[in-house]
Amino acid sequence: MNAPVQKLTAKDYASDQEVRWCPGCGDYAILKTIQKLMPELDVQKENQVFVSGIGCSSRFPYYMNTYGFHTIHGRAPSFATGVKLSNPELDVWVVTGDGDGLSIGGNHMIHVLRRNVDLQILLFNNEIYGLTKGQYSPTSKVGTKSPSTPDGSVDMPLRPCVFALGAGAKFVARTIDTEAKHLTPVLGRAHDHKGASFVEIYQNCPVYNDGIFDQIKDKKNAADTRLVLEHGKPLTFGVEDRKGLRMNAKTLLLEIVTIGEDGVTIDDVVVHDETNKVLAQMLAGLKLPEFPEPIGVLYCESTAPSYTDDVYQQRIVVRETRGPADINDLLRSGHTWTVS
């Protein structure tokens, strides 16, 4: 695709529609960040498509001045697959939430990741159903009190990044709605990745689940509650990066160590390797309060073939081998006979 002739700005990516999320919703921050990021990408606006399902996050396409399709509950990955199959040149983004993408649409999410359709999938995780007024979601913590679970939810939540890795995703990352400095480069990487890029975005719902990620977002605690992942860098966190994750050779589990204590040095700390799937799976499962929660790119396998490219390639090969297609020839294939 050609680079834009004229440099656009974030404004060019804002549609003329009034944004209708609740005041203070994390979606505003994500929208702003994406509108700012778009002009930096090497894609023309008319080649971009935002596809969504149903839910608060799924209103996203209406606010982007690109092509957009607000579809039905849980099925955005399938619509997006069709868009991409029809025109592999398009830059297609799926915007979904924890209910849309992991509950009603869980099956499609598995398959879009397994197939490695070349899309960016942004899953806004606020651990609650917003648009239907506050019921618990498949990512809600056990004990979540909601209109449908007044005595607290009892079912186990799933971890979106664990789910994505389990489905075979080749690019898995996690980031935070209001932290543009982190969100922007992660989304840029997701865009550059060929294949299905899965990005979980911790997103605050100020109405039904306010402050659910405060422990991680709060600057005061952040050093201890988040693990910022950087490829090739040791997995350290805490004040002055004093703490780190070490692989326990006996249990094959990650454990927290303090550098400088008990003879632990920086060399004992695991170095992040985003091409290591086993490590990615371990990191994806870490959660508070036992562990800091990783943000950044957990896993990236950049050489995997994308489904849409392979489908396209297969068509080219078939067309080259079979030569020009003629309907009349097709009709006349097989046994024919003439009546005179």
């Binding site: 399709f69 069709g82 868009v83 040149e89 398009l90 489908v311 068509r315 009709l331």
Partner: protein, 621 residues
């Protein structure tokens, strides 16, 4: 009287005008392959023909079980053939289960070719026989040819060194050889196709060919019952031209490809396997040279959604299923209706409800097609009537979907999808192209712009500069296409969607009378695959001077604009349907006509006789 009894002796040979042959055996006996090879040979011989493959849902039922019997029926003759025939003249029964389940359809005096080796005590008991019918006189009303086929086959394939299992599998070719002798068919096409099919296993091909030839030689030399000789069925008079055999699912697939070419659009076909619709996916996935992308989705919902996504981005999205799968797609079809995108939904109907009878035919999804969605989401519905007709109906579905920016439901059924008939091949150049129009001009563009005549919404595909826009399931403003919760606007948009679909009536042909006159005592009104039975029944009755006509409806919604007036010209209307009466309710409600139903839901197509009896009883009352 059976056709094989009712012979005229000209030129020293037995001559008959038409014959029904049915091959029946275990579901693993290769009866479908036998039938399709005999069909090819019969087509090339020059008879008109129609076939009816009838098989169980079980892939390989336990050997000898009655529920595992697979049958293939072919009706061929020297005159216009349009059904697979009412009664069987020649039954090939590979085991007791095949005999007991099919004998009731054989005419008295008919020929039974039986593999006596399969009539063991165990198989007899499993089929429910208390004594061997070959020996106990219970088949005296028929002409029975019991042959130790298994033994003959093992002998004939001995030189090829196959295992017992593979050697026995050549039984079907042995019996095919015999039946080919009986009707003087040419074996070379079968020989060629066996060589092709087993190109990598030449010993299997050779053994099957040897069995075929052995069966033929046996019939030629053995002493068969008196009068069982070669029967000659004169060639049918057919319009000159090039022909081939075609099943409904093949012709539907070819029609969709042709439609895509006429609309100048790439096709994205997204589907999920389901009987009896899967063959459409199989056929299209082998035609990538035609700008066709096929996608086997993870489920029915994903399939329709991918098809709609493809239409949004400028391809023709098509999805295909059978009744239960169409139910799953309903929500998405309504989205395509609300967003006014082209989409074709092919429903190859089967017996329902639920899993019902997956391999049997029915036309009970008309109500689902017309009403089976939430909201006021009226859609065009069109139906195919014969295997050959599927080609033209598919093209018509593409035309309507793309010219009116709407989903179209295309109804086929299990019978015509699998049945084959000869096809006088059309020339694609004789079809008028209807290229799809994409908006490219940003001046005054909104996604709500529409053609003032057809009311079709503008189609602006991603990749077009300046036309960036959003569509979705929320109600849209009539003028701008932006989301709107305005009460009056919703009324206006609902009316618009309705007017658009109803207006399609102005762009489809008026209803014609397929046989008979435009006025009279009785019109038999059908739709779908009942065409053949109604056609023959009306023909026979008219031959005897009865005042009856045949009207066959393709456009189920909107209905042809002259249909009400046309039907008012008859004293009575009879409506045969393979359901409990779905189309008749539409006709009665819309035109206030006291139409009479004729319903059948046995999983089998109408027999000609059944329609004929209904015609007579109405005309005599």
């Amino acid at each position: 009287m059976s056709a094989v009894e009712e012979v005229s002796h000209q030129d020293g040979a037995n001559q008959v005008s038409d014959v029904v042959v049915r091959f029946a055996g275990d579901s693993g006996d290769g009866m479908q392959l036998t039938g399709s090879n005999f069909t090819e040979a019969t087509a090339i011989y020059g008879n008109d023909l129609a076939t009816f493959p009838d098989f169980p849902a079980e892939i390989r039922a336990p050997a000898g079980a009655t529920f595992g019997v697979s049958a293939f029926q072919i009706y061929f003759g020297s005159e216009d053939v349009s059904t697979a025939g009412d009664d069987v003249d020649v039954l090939v029964a590979m085991n007791p289960a095949a005999l007991i389940t099919n004998l009731k359809d054989v005419l008295v005096g008919g020929l039974l070719i039986i593999d006596s080796d399969a009539f063991t005590d165990k198989n007899l008991a499993r089929a429910g026989y208390s004594s061997n019918p070959i020996e106990d006189g219970s088949l005296d009303a028929y002409r029975v040819i019991p042959i130790a086929v298994t033994k003959q086959v093992l002998e004939s394939v001995k030189p090829f060194g196959l295992s017992h299992k593979f050697a026995v599998r050549c039984k079907n070719m042995w019996t095919l050889g015999m039946v080919m002798w009986l009707f003087d068919r040419d074996r070379s096409i079968t020989t060629d196709s066996l060589k092709q099919k087993f190109a990598n296993k030449p010993e299997i091909a050779d053994a099957n060919i040897a069995a075929l030839n052995a069966g033929h030689a046996y019939a030629e030399t053995a002493e068969l019952p008196t009068g069982v000789e070669v029967y000659r069925v004169p060639r049918a008079e057919a319009a000159p031209g090039l022909y081939r055999n075609i099943t409904g699912s093949e012709s539907l697939a070819y029609g969709l490809i042709a439609g895509g070419q006429l609309a100048d659009l790439p096709i994205t076909f997204a589907s999920y396997p389901i009987t009896p619709a899967s063959s459409l996916l199989h056929t299209l996935s082998g035609q990538k040279q035609f700008n066709v992308v096929t996608f086997q989705a993870e489920d029915e919902i994903a399939a329709v959604c991918a098809a709609i996504g493809a239409s949004f981005s400028g391809s023709l999205g098509i999805t295909s299923s059978s009744g239960p799968g169409i139910s799953l797609k309903a929500e998405a079809i309504s989205l395509a209706s609300a967003t006014e995108l082209p989409l074709i939904v092919v429903n190859t109907q089967r017996g329902g409800p639920s899993t019902g009878l997956p391999t049997k035919t029915e036309q009970s999804d008309l109500n689902q097609s017309l009403f089976g969605r939430h909201g006021d989401s009226m859609l065009p519905v069109i139906s195919c009537s014969t295997s050959v007709d599927c080609f033209d109906v598919a093209i018509e579905a593409v035309r309507i979907a793309t010219q009116f920016m709407t989903p179209v439901i295309l109804l086929s059924d299990g019978y015509m999808a699998n049945a084959s008939e000869p096809w006088l091949l059309p020339d694609i150049n004789d079809y008028e192209p209807f290229p799809a129009k994409f908006e490219t001009n940003p001046e005054g563009f909104t996604p709500a712009n529409r053609d003032p005549e057809t009311l079709a919404r503008v189609w602006a595909k991603p990749g077009t500069p300046g036309l960036e826009h959003r569509i979705g399931g929320i109600e849209k403003d009539f003028d701008s296409g932006d989301i709107s919760y305005d009460a009056d606007n919703h009324q206006r948009m609902t009316d618009l969607r309705k007017d658009k679909i109803e207006g399609i009536a102005n762009y489809i042909p008026e209803q014609e009378v397929s046989q008979g006159s435009p006025k009279g005592k009785l019109a038999v009104v059908g739709w779908g695959s009942t065409y053949g039975s109604i056609h023959q029944a009306v023909k026979r009755c008219r031959h005897e001077g009865l005042d009856v006509s045949h009207i066959h409806v393709r456009y189920m919604n909107p209905l042809p604009r002259n249909l009400g007036e046309l039907l008012a010209g008859y004293d009575q209307v009879l409506m045969p349907e393979m359901n409990t009466g779905q189309f008749i309710n539409i006709i009665r409600a819309k035109y206030l006509i006291d139409a009479k139903p004729l319903n059948k839901v046995s999983g089998q197509p109408f027999k000609i006789r059944e329609v004929e009896t209904a015609i007579r009883s109405l005309l005599e009352s």
